[in-house]
C-alpha cells in the first residue's frame, strides 16, 4: 500500500479554482483506495483527467464517450468476471452524462445488476462546454441556453430527480451526498463499495464559474443547500430509506440562491414561493416520514 503515500488525485491538474467536482473526485477516490478502475465520460472531470502525457488520477482511468459510462462498467464487469479479477469499478460522470445522454445505458446497467459504484457529480448543467442547461438544471436558473433575455426565458422546468429514477429500478444501494459533509460522503462511498450489485451516489457539485459565485464559497454553498433543506442527504439501502440529516433549524433558501449570479433575476416573490415549497415538503416529512414519492412540482 505504499502508493497511498502519494495522492490519488494529483495536484496541479486543470480543474478550475474552487471546483466542487474535483473535490468530490478526491474524496471518492480516496474513500475507495487504489484497487479501482474508473470510467469517466465526456464531462468536466473527463477534461481534468489528463494533461497529456500527465494523468490527474493515480488509479487506472478508462475514458469513454458521453453516453457510455454505464455500458463501459458493464463490459468491465463482464471482463473482470471472466478474469476472476477483484476490483471496484467506478463510474464518475457529470449530470449531463447521467440524467440526459447516458440515462438509457445507466438504466440498463442497473437493471442487469452489474456490480459497480456510479457517482453522479451534479453541477446542474453542461459546465464543461459553457453552462448550457441539462435535465438536472433547477427551475429558474439562467444558463447559456436558457439565457432569460428580453422575454425572461430562464429554465422553466423543474429538474428531473435522477435519484428517484434510479430508486425505481430497485437498486440495492443509493445515496445522496454533499462535499460539505465529507464524513457522510466517505461513509456512503465505502458502503457502496461493500454492496454487491449496482450502487449509485448523487452528489451536489457546486461550480463557481457556471453558477456564478466566488470560488471560496463552493463548500459553504453546498452546506447551505443542505441546511436550507433544498438538498436532502439520504440513503436507500436494500429498500430501507433513511435521511442522513434533518436540519433542525433550516436556513432560508434565499441564502442558497442569492449568492449565485444564475439566480440573480429571482424576485422576493419567487423566493417566498421557493421557501413555501421547501417548508411544505419538510412539514410532510416531519409528519409522515421521509419517502421518495413523486411531488407534482419541485423547485
Amino acid at each position: 500500500m505504499a502508493r497511498n503515500e502519494t495522492p490519488l488525485v494529483m495536484p496541479g491538474n486543470s480543474s478550475c479554482a474552487g471546483c466542487g467536482a474535483v473535490l468530490i473526485a478526491r474524496l471518492v477516490t480516496e474513500a475507495i483506495g487504489p484497487n479501482q478502475i474508473m470510467v469517466i465520460p465526456a464531462c468536466c472531470m473527463g477534461a481534468v483527467a489528463t494533461s497529456f502525457p500527465k494523468a490527474t488520477f493515480n488509479v487506472p482511468v478508462l475514458r469513454t464517450a458521453f453516453a457510455s459510462t454505464a455500458s463501459f462498467l458493464t463490459g468491465l464487469e463482464a471482463s473482470a468476471k471472466a478474469k476472476g479479477q477483484e476490483v471496484t469499478l467506478v463510474g464518475f460522470a457529470g449530470d449531463g452524462a447521467t440524467v440526459d445522454i447516458g440515462l438509457a445505458a445507466l438504466s440498463g446497467a442497473i437493471e442487469r445488476g452489474h456490480s459497480f459504484v456510479y457517482i453522479c457529480y451534479d453541477n446542474e448543467g453542461y459546465m464543461n462546454t459553457g453552462f448550457q442547461r441539462s435535465g438536472s438544471t433547477p427551475r429558474g436558473a439562467q444558463t447559456s441556453t436558457t439565457p432569460g433575455g428580453a422575454l425572461g426565458r430562464y429554465k422553466a422546468e423543474p429538474r428531473k430527480d435522477i435519484a428517484k429514477i434510479v430508486a425505481a429500478h430497485g437498486i440495492p444501494y443509493l445515496a445522496t451526498a454533499s462535499p460539505a459533509y465529507p464524513a457522510d460522503l466517505t461513509r456512503k462511498v465505502e458502503r457502496a463499495v461493500a454492496v454487491k450489485g449496482p450502487t449509485f451516489l448523487h452528489i451536489m457539485s457546486p461550480c463557481p464559474l457556471g453558477w456564478g459565485f466566488p470560488s471560496a464559497n463552493s463548500v459553504e454553498l453546498a452546506r447551505t443547500a443542505v441546511e436550507s433543506g433544498l438538498w436532502k442527504l439520504y440513503e436507500l439501502d436494500h429498500g430501507v430509506l433513511r435521511l442522513s440529516l434533518s436540519p433542525k433549524k433550516r436556513k432560508p433558501v434565499k441564502e442558497f440562491f442569492a449568492p449565485q449570479s444564475r439566480f440573480a433575476h429571482l424576485s422576493d416573490d419567487v423566493y417566498e414561493e421557493l421557501q413555501r415549497a421547501v417548508d411544505e415538503e419538510w412539514t410532510t416529512i416531519e409528519k409522515e416520514g421521509f419517502s421518495l414519492r413523486c411531488e407534482t412540482s419541485r423547485a
Binding site: I37, G46, G75, L76, S79, S107
Partner: protein, 402 residues
Amino acid sequence: MTSGRNMTATSAVAYAARLAQVDVVAAYPITPQTRIIEAIAKFVADGEMKAQFVQVESEHSALAATIAASSNGVRAFTATSSQGLLYMHEMMHWAASARVPIVMANVNRAVAPPWNIYGDHQDAISQRDTGWLQLFAETNQHALDMTLQAFRIAEDPRVQLPVMVNLDGFTLSHTYEPVVVPEPEVVNRFLAPRPAVDWLDVEHPKTINGVVSPEHYIQFRALQKDAARRALVVIEEVGEAFAEQFCRDSGGLLSLEQVSDAEIVFVALGSAASTIRSMVRAWRSVGRKVGVISVRSYRPFPDAKMAEALAGARVAVVWDRAYSFGCGGPLAGEVKGALYGRESRPVVLSAVGGFGGAPVGPTELEKALEWADASMQGRPVPLETWFGVKAYRDGRTPDGKE
C-alpha cells in the same frame, strides 16, 4: 464428397466465437443477426462456452461494453446488423481508435427507411471510414473461418485493430449449407490466447484515451493508419497459415478465379461473388474469357493487388450493393482509385444493384456481361448502371452517369 454439417452462417459464426474461446459477448438483438446471439446464449446456458454473455439495452452499449471488456485484456465479440450497426457508429470510431482487437459479425442488411430486413451492403460501407478492418464472406464456411482468422488478425501486435466479418443477411445468415466445424484442439494451434495488455493495471495506473493537444492527436491517427496498412500483410499471412492448417482457402485479401487471361473481370463483395463464380464457370464453358475477383478484405483495401489483377483485363465490372449518393458506387470508386496512374488498366463499369434483398443473379449478370461486351466493342455505353430499377414514364432510365 462433402464433409461437415448443414448449418446457417449465423450458426457458423456462433461456433467460431465458441472455438475462439471468447471471454465476453455483449450484444443486442436485431434481425438477421439474432440467431448468432441466440446460439451463443444457448452455448453459454448449456455450459458449452465459458463466455460472459450480456444482452445489453442498445447496440451503442453493446459495442461500448465490448470495447471496455477488450480494454481490460480479454477476448471480446459482438454481432449486429443494419440499424444496429448505424447506432454503434460513435463507438465504431472509438473501438478502432482505442485499438481494441474486437471481432464483430455484421449480418449485412439494408438500411431504413423504407424498412427492409434483407441483404445489401449499405450498413457496412457506411462504416468504411471508422478504422475497422472489414472482411466479406462468400459462404457459410467463410463466415466461420474468417471469424477465427479475424481474432488472429485483430490481436496481431502489428495490427491491434477491430475486425468486422460481413456475411450477407438471409443469403448466408438463413441458408443451410455444409460447414466443417473444426476440432477445438486444431483451432487452439491456430489461435493463441490474446497477448496481455496492461492498460487497466491497478498496480501501474494510467489514464487511457484522454484529451491530447493538436500536436499529439495526429500522431495517434498516423499510428492507426500504419497499423491498418500493415494489416494487408497480416491478413495474407493469417490466410496462408489457415489454409495450411485447415486445407481451405477462406482468407487473404482477394480471391481470383479465371482472372489471368480474362477480358472481362467482375469484382464483387460477399455472396454476390459466389453467384458470379458460378456464372463465370458457365461462361468459360462456352468459351467466354471472363473472370471474377472476390474482395475478401474491403479494409484494408488491397489497391496494389487489385491493380495487378486487373492489369490484363479490358473491362472490369464492379458490383456495388451500396451507394455513395451524389458520387457513385463505393467499390467502383476504389477500384478506379487503385488503377490511377497504371499504364495497363481496364475500363471500369459500375454496376449497382442487389439492394434490400433484390437479386444479383443470372438475369442481372447476363445483362451486365452484354454491357461489358458493348463497351469492349467500343460502343458508347453508360459507365454506371442500376440493375432492377424501373424506367421513368417518359422512357428515361436512371442508369446513366455519363
